[in-house]
Subunit: 185 residues, 2 copies
């Protein structure tokens, strides 16, 4: 993918917000701070500080608490159910799955390319290839100096160890799947 865009990720790791969520979850269950601390096997001071956002908890602590609340860690780490996404000027991609084997790592993305000016991505490491299958719209993509075109149902493959571009042809947004292959070095 185009490397992680510098744009701020709205993911909040703010201890105060996390603390507020924990407190809220605890109060929903009508359980006291002391009791939860006892159940989770952490000190009351620890839990108090955590809920008030005055501490910077370790994973171990946070996990012990959320486990007793019966919720996954992700429930208090904000951002309910957001999958990793990458934004660019024209390209918007969400990571669907990562697969690693002996030879390479694959990242499978759902990609959308907005109409209008396209987007240029910097080179990746040597040997990285991109595989795109177009769902809708017409996509022009590939090495910056020699892009190819594919319409709905079409497929493109190119090596992305050189700068490469994505652009929607025409007015329609492009929907596609993007597979990135990183060979193991």
């Amino acid at each position: 993918m185009p490397q992680p865009s510098p744009g701020r990720r709205a993911l909040d790791a703010d201890p105060a917000v996390i603390g507020a969520r924990v407190r809220s979850l605890r109060e929903e269950r009508g359980i006291s701070l002391s009791a939860l601390a006892r159940l989770a096997g952490v000190g009351k001071a620890t839990l108090s500080g955590l809920e008030n956002g005055t501490r910077n908890p370790t994973l171990e602590t946070l996990y012990a608490v959320t486990a007793q609340l019966g919720v996954p860690l992700t429930a208090v780490l904000a951002e309910p159910a957001t999958t990793p996404t990458v934004h660019g000027a024209a390209v918007h991609a969400t990571l669907l799955e990562v697969f690693t084997d002996a030879d390479a790592t694959y990242e499978l993305y759902r990609m959308r390319v907005a109409p209008g000016a396209g987007q240029l991505s910097p080179a990746h490491q040597p040997g990285v290839t991109e595989h795109v299958t177009v769902f809708a719209g017409v996509l022009r993509a590939g090495p910056a100096d020699a892009p190819s075109t594919a319409a709905a149902g079409g497929y493109l493959r190119f090596t992305s160890d050189v700068p490469h571009s994505y652009a929607a042809v025409g007015d329609e947004e492009v929907d596609a799947s993007l597979l990135l292959r990183y060979p193991r070095r």
Copy 2:
């Protein structure tokens, strides 16, 4: 293929596993431990211990690192969601995403084909095409009377409105992504 059923999200707070995920993400990006530590503003000792699972990181530390990797905290804390799966004699597929537009419906699957005897699938509706990108192993697939072969990184496309087959070539299991395109009728 079967109806999507709700996926569950398993959670794993084991520092060793989290560390392994962080290391894997870093290596995917071809960046050194030292460099990542510098970017994230944490000590090399901290990152080393984190990746090796010998420390119990604070949220602050983990967030600083994952932010630089361009992934949300949840990417290293949760197992990939389990989604609807389809089992066959040799083929095992999990649905990753469905996309519908004016012309067609797409279903994106993660597919595994066990070595040994292959599997024959009956014909789909007219005009249905399948698009396969191989991650690992060697796959032989296509119309039952004229299958093609693809190795890791390779791509196959065929129309599946006739009976078609999948088989792993050799002893190795095949890992691949499968895209099904159903034209609107």
